[in-house]
């Protein structure tokens, strides 16, 4: 039962980890993208659209293509979302909070609209609902020796490639921030764009890059959710508020993707703990569902009261940069 709890918690954690790693990259460039929730929906639904097109148009099902087509569709969809945000907030210097909320409205609407209308739009009305079980099976291919290793295999090796991908991306991002020249430049842009600009760093390019790459990574979280967690079945609003929880996780991780890995496991556990405590009434379960949010508030308060410099958010977070401003 504990092994089952941990594997379920980790499956819950992966979308959050993708979302928070993507959001950390964007925030390091000084942009608070509240559109992450919408981006994750778009990442998910674009994968669904890609898979749906592939499954309905192909005669011979190829697992490699079945993974690549939705993956590519998802990446393109989230990159476009990132691009919209970057054009509005970097080039047009629009208010980041308003743009982010509009992006979330748009993205969630986009996801639910195509999720609910894809069948009707494709004109192929004899399909009852979108259940991409073949594609989902291709996505969920796990390591072949996982079953033979008992509990250890279940705990560590039973996940799909996207789950390991999330952890690898988080480690790579940490390495990038701390050990590469370009990562240093990105952090400089987020701390003080004017200083970075004076040093000859192309501020706009870094902001665009960070926003778009961050969106793509966040979008993969949506793809993982649909294809792995939900077995290829899209249900409207099924993804729920995980996008916002991912933004909360950024704070929990104090802007460090490697801490985000552990943080996401904790959040994943808190997210489902109400199912594993025996004897809870329906009402009490609702109280337990508060846990991730309460914990986030506690972390937020503790971080802000202690004011350790390395734990604070990027200094220019939320402000747009205009070279001629003084």
């Amino acid at each position: 039962m504990i092994a089952a709890f941990i594997t379920r918690a980790i499956m819950q954690a992966i979308p959050l980890l993708y979302g928070s790693t993507g959001e950390i990259i964007t925030e390091k460039s000084g942009h608070l993208n509240l559109g992450t929730a919408g981006v994750m929906y778009v990442g998910g639904i674009c994968g669904v659209i890609g898979a749906f097109m592939y499954e309905t148009h192909t005669s011979s099902f190829n697992s490699v293509l079945a993974v690549l087509v939705p993956l590519l569709a998802s990446i393109i969809g989230s990159a476009i979302m990132g691009l919209i945000y970057a054009v509005l907030t970097v080039t047009l210097r629009a208010n980041q909070n308003v743009t982010g909320l509009a992006l979330t409205t748009f993205g969630v609407g986009f996801g639910n609209f195509f999720g609910g209308s894809l069948i009707k739009l494709s004109g192929n009305t004899d399909i009852p609902s979108i259940a991409l079980s073949d594609t989902s099976n291709a996505f969920r291919t796990s390591l072949p020796f996982a079953d033979s290793l008992g509990v250890i295999g279940k705990l560590f090796f039973s996940y799909s490639f996207l789950a390991y991908g999330a952890i690898i991306i988080a480690f790579v991002t940490t390495f990038y921030f701390n050990r590469t020249r370009s990562g240093l430049h990105l952090r400089a842009v987020g701390e003080s764009p004017a200083t970075a600009d004076a040093d000859g760093i192309n501020v706009g390019a870094y902001k665009y890059g960070a926003t778009i790459i961050g969106s793509v990574i966040a979008g993969l979280g949506g793809l993982y959710y649909v294809m792995d967690y939900a077995n290829g079945v899209w249900s409207n609003d099924g993804f729920g508020d995980r996008g916002w929880l991912a933004i909360a996780l950024v704070i929990f991780a104090i802007w460090r993707p490697n801490i985000g890995i552990i943080g996401s496991f904790v959040f994943g556990g808190l997210f489902i703990i109400h199912n594993y405590i025996p004897g809870l009434s329906m009402g009490a379960q609702e109280i337990f569902k508060m846990a991730p949010y309460v914990v986030t508030i506690l972390v937020l308060v503790i971080v802000s009261t202690r004011k350790k410099r390395e734990n604070l958010p990027p200094a220019s977070l939320g402000l747009s940069y205009f070279r001629e401003d003084r």
Partner: protein
């Protein structure tokens, strides 16, 4: 960067902040951006439904204004959105990003529902109504003041704090939905006091929504005066412009933050009261229906001016209703309206750039050589390029 001849390379264009644009011109930009948005929405509608876009806009119009019933429902939705927008505006003007209006409204609504359920049939209306009003206002204010205190004391990030408070409110509401569920165990609070109507806000001339609309209208006038003519309104706009200036001229910034958020939360509480007692007569976790977030866009699009907010909330509610009508007519998913609203907001947000900044293009080669100094294009070139920038 120097090229072969040693001349300084000048970029194709650069961007300058405008001093001030005449009133009519800035609105011209906004209207142009709205038209551009409508064209893009038209393209989206055509690709999705393969219908004549003009006919579709007619359908939208029908959906929003077609019958008396629809007009009242439009007015009610508009009033609720406007009420929450009014609530977030003072905080917003202070640059306090309260995205927790959703939760503050829900908690206000929950407090109202609690009064109606517990005391509805025990107290006389003369006691019940004030009790409902006071508890909902207090509940909303409490929900808003917690993040404000932390912001004032430790500069805790308010955007994320208020966001988290939303979910706590939602879960609290779900909990009470089980406690007070009707029928038992359904997890839903059905219509409260369905037979007696105790605690329902009065119908004016048989109209369910008129009372709400009048309350919101009064709040709009109040907020307009509060922001424009009161000392509080002045103080909060100074804090929003520059906290250091505010400290320098002796404004107690912490006090202003806490006071403004109390007001913001209190109005959200009123919105909850109106939603529960004046319209739905029940409460559920989606009672606020995302308005807490939409309200931020309404307020920002209106430049924090309560009078313009009437227009911007009408605009967003109109598109919401209209796009819902389209999705019903074509049996599409009703999230279509969110896509349309999203596109329109993107365009209006984008247009602000052209109101605040001006794009100046590089002068012709010859002129540049002759001038040989930092570009200072003549006024006629500047105004030309401004127009060019807008058409993109």
């Amino acid at each position: 960067m120097k090229n072969k001849t040693g001349k300084v390379h000048e970029p194709l264009f650069h961007i300058v902040k405008r001093s001030a644009l005449p009133f009519w011109k800035s609105w011209l930009f906004r209207i142009l951006s709205l038209l551009a948005a409508l064209v893009v929405c038209g393209i989206v509608i055509v690709t999705v439904t393969a219908e004549n876009p003009l006919a579709m806009y007619k359908t939208m119009f029908e959906g929003a204004f077609g019958t008396a019933r629809r007009r009242w429902s439009l007015l009610q939705d508009m009033a609720m959105l406007l009420c929450i927008s009014l609530a977030v505006t003072p905080a917003f003007k202070m640059k306090f990003w309260n995205i927790g209006a959703e939760g503050q409204v829900l908690i206000g609504g929950l407090a109202t529902a609690a009064c109606m359920i517990l005391f509805g049939e025990k107290l006389s209306p003369a006691v019940l109504y004030p009790l409902m009003a006071v508890t909902s206002i207090l509940a909303g204010a409490l929900w808003a003041v917690i993040p404000a205190v932390f912001k004032a004391k430790w500069n805790t990030n308010e955007t994320l704090f208020t966001l988290m408070m939303n979910y706590i409110a939602i879960q609290l509401l779900s909990y009470f939905s089980y406690v007070w569920s009707n029928p038992k165990g359904s997890g839903k609070i059905g219509i409260i006091n369905a037979s007696s109507g105790a605690g329902w806000l009065p119908y004016i001339g048989n109209n369910k929504y008129l009372f709400n609309i009048l309350v919101v209208l009064a709040l709009t006038v109040f907020m307009y005066i509060y922001l424009k003519y009161s000392k509080h309104g002045y103080e909060l706009s100074v804090v929003g412009e520059s906290e250091n200036t505010a400290k320098y001229i002796g404004i107690n910034v912490k006090k202003v933050i806490i006071r403004t958020m109390l007001l913001s939360g209190a109005i959200c509480g009123i919105a909850g009261l109106l939603l529960v007692a004046g319209a739905n007569h029940t409460v559920s976790s989606n009672a606020a229906d995302g308005r807490g977030f939409t309200a931020i866009m309404v307020s920002w699009l209106a430049k924090f001016n309560p009078a313009y907010m009437i227009l911007t909330s009408l605009l967003l509610v109109f598109f919401d209703k209209g796009a819902t009508e389209i999705s019903t007519a074509f049996s599409l998913n009703d999230s279509f309206s969110e896509i349309i609203s999203g596109i329109i907001i993107f365009f209006i947000i984008g247009s602000e750039f052209f109101i605040n900044y001006e794009i100046k293009f590089r002068e012709k080669e010859g002129a540049h050589v002759k001038a040989q100094k930092p570009a200072a294009p003549g006024p006629e070139i500047a105004s030309e390029s401004g127009k060019d920038g807008d058409s993109k």
